[in-house]
């Protein structure tokens, strides 16, 4: 098993990254077709201008302009096709990398769930049984003569065990929600409304989604929002926050702003780094603007399908 720290994200050129950010990757062939179509028309226009025009500078100027614009369009079209249908070995390498990362990511998630169970609910339940065990011992010892102090002690133990069992139930519920938030089945909007309503400080929610993103993207968007709001509660000292989930140019954009103290950073093994890892599995992007003194704005961009 590869370790998360050793993960190297696929290398992409700056232009390519801009391209991927601007348009959805899978629409590249359509864009390429359009560019090539426009290119052919422009080159055609250049030829027509040359054949119909006179032997003067204006004709040459127009011809050159049409041919140059046509060539540029054809070049762009060819470039899009080259990216979309890049040689198979290279694509396979990229897929292998991203798959390995996905596997690592889910392994890390499982490890975290196991750890949470081990430290939380399991320990809590053992403590409950310890208290009940002691209470049983006291009760068994009392069958002969009844001592008032022991009765009080038994009551104390049973009350403590009762409290512990209730805490364990809460922890289990939170954990189950951490694995898959049930409310997400009703759509991202509903899930985020619940999340925002539970949040402290108060959160204004803006959701504008024409169509539902795919389930995987909804889940990642939800966990991003949850993690970011938790950060606001824990670290920012903000009095107010805004959660925006909107579609921008074919991307799903999750943005959390707060009026807190700022200074949020992506640190190794920190919450934001974990978030960034998860976002990267679907070619998404995390951007943090958080000057000391605030305000903080964290933006997550995700493709709408994965």
């Amino acid at each position: 098993m590869r370790v998360l720290d050793g993960y190297v994200p696929p290398q992409r050129s700056v232009l390519e990254r801009i391209l991927i950010r601007s348009w959805e990757y899978r629409r590249l062939p359509v864009w390429a077709g359009g560019r090539i179509g426009v290119g052919i028309v422009l080159v055609g226009l250049g030829v027509v201008t040359l054949s119909l025009g006179g032997n003067d500078w204006a004709t040459y100027g127009w011809t050159m302009a049409f041919l140059a614009a046509g060539a540029a369009n054809l070049a762009f079209g060819y470039w899009f096709i080259a990216i979309a249908y890049r040689p198979l070995p290279q694509r396979v390498r990229e897929l292998e990398r991203s798959r390995a990362h996905l596997v690592d990511d889910s392994a890390a998630r499982l490890r975290r769930i196991e750890r949470d169970l081990h430290d939380g609910a399991q320990a809590q339940m053992v403590a409950v049984t310890m208290k009940l065990g002691l209470a049983i011992k006291k009760l068994a010892g009392m069958t002969g003569e009844t001592g008032q102090t022991d009765l009080e002690r038994v009551l104390e133990l049973v009350v403590a065990a009762h409290g512990g069992a209730k805490e364990a139930i809460t922890e289990l519920r939170d954990l189950a929600r951490g694995i898959h938030p049930h409310v997400l089945d009703q759509g991202l909007g509903t899930a985020l409304a619940t999340l925002a309503a539970r949040s402290n400080p108060p959160v204004d929610l803006v959701v504008d989604l024409a169509e539902r993103p795919s389930a995987a993207i909804e889940t990642i968007a939800y966990f991003c929002a949850a993690e970011l709001l938790t950060n606001v509660t824990k670290h920012s000292g903000a009095r107010h926050a805004t959660l925006e989930v909107v579609r921008v140019a074919g991307l799903l954009q999750v943005r959390v702003r707060d009026d807190g103290c700022g200074g949020a950073r992506v640190e190794a093994r920190g919450g934001l780094a974990g978030l960034a890892e998860r976002i990267r599995t679907v070619d998404g992007k995390l951007q943090v603007t958080s000057p000391p003194g605030g305000p903080s704005v964290v933006t997550v961009e995700l493709p709408s399908r994965a």
Binding site: A123, T129, G133, K137
Partner: protein
């Protein structure tokens, strides 16, 4: 008994301290990681240490390694290791550390066992006195993994019960109480088991446990 507790969960640590204090034992130190445990044992020379296997910083087997170190450096301190899961490898490591000395003084229990307060405290006393306390789960695993299926198959069902309890480290008296039979018949079963498995009989409890465990593991 004077006891040191090493457990990273504060809830569990408090619970254990409560149980032991209630059973009139003295908890001289309760710590949350392996380094503090070794320091506490060095300082207090307790009769026994109760040690969680998984502790910070790595949450892997820090406690187990500390337990083995304690058995090596402080033979007078019994070590009861407990954890949320039973790992066969840990059993082997612990018993390996134990058989180096004349006395065992090790125990390996599932955390759940603390729920039965008296049995847990009894197991701890056994370990402190140089005996053995193995979880029934450990014994089941040893039986399952043992290559001596012929030898074990030659035993009667009752003899296998006695063997399992013996492997857990229990005395004849405790075995008799658990199976609701007389101590006399336990002695007879034990003698039968030793002759059928071809083991040299031994009077001391911990020696016979080690003999049985070596037989199962070999």
């Amino acid at each position: 008994m004077r006891i040191v507790i090493a457990e990273d969960s504060a809830v569990m640590r408090a619970g254990l301290a409560e149980i032991l204090a209630d059973s009139d034992h003295q908890v001289v130190a309760a710590v949350g990681n392996a380094d503090d445990l070794l320091a506490a044992v060095e300082e207090h020379h307790p009769d026994a240490a109760v040690v969680d296997v998984r502790m910070p910083p790595g949450y892997t087997d820090e406690g187990l390694r500390a337990a083995i170190a304690i058995r090596r450096d402080h033979p007078a301190t019994g070590v009861l290791v407990f954890s949320q899961y039973i790992e066969t490898r840990y059993t082997a490591d612990l018993l390996g550390a134990a058989s180096g000395n004349g006395a065992a003084g090790v125990g390996y229990l599932l955390k759940d066992r603390v729920a039965d307060v008296e049995e847990f405290v009894e197991a701890l006393s056994r370990v402190a006195a140089g005996g053995t306390a193995l979880d029934p789960e450990v014994v089941t695993q040893l039986f399952g993994a043992s290559r001596h299926t012929d030898g074990l198959g030659a035993l009667t069902a009752r003899e296998r019960d006695v063997l399992a309890l013996m492997a857990e480290g229990r005395s004849n008296g405790a075995i008799a109480a658990t199976l609701v039979i007389s101590e006399r018949s336990v002695e007879k079963h034990v003698a039968n088991i030793f002759s059928r498995l071809g083991l040299a009989p031994s009077d001391a409890d911990h020696r016979r446990v080690l003999a049985v465990l070596r037989y199962l593991a070999s």
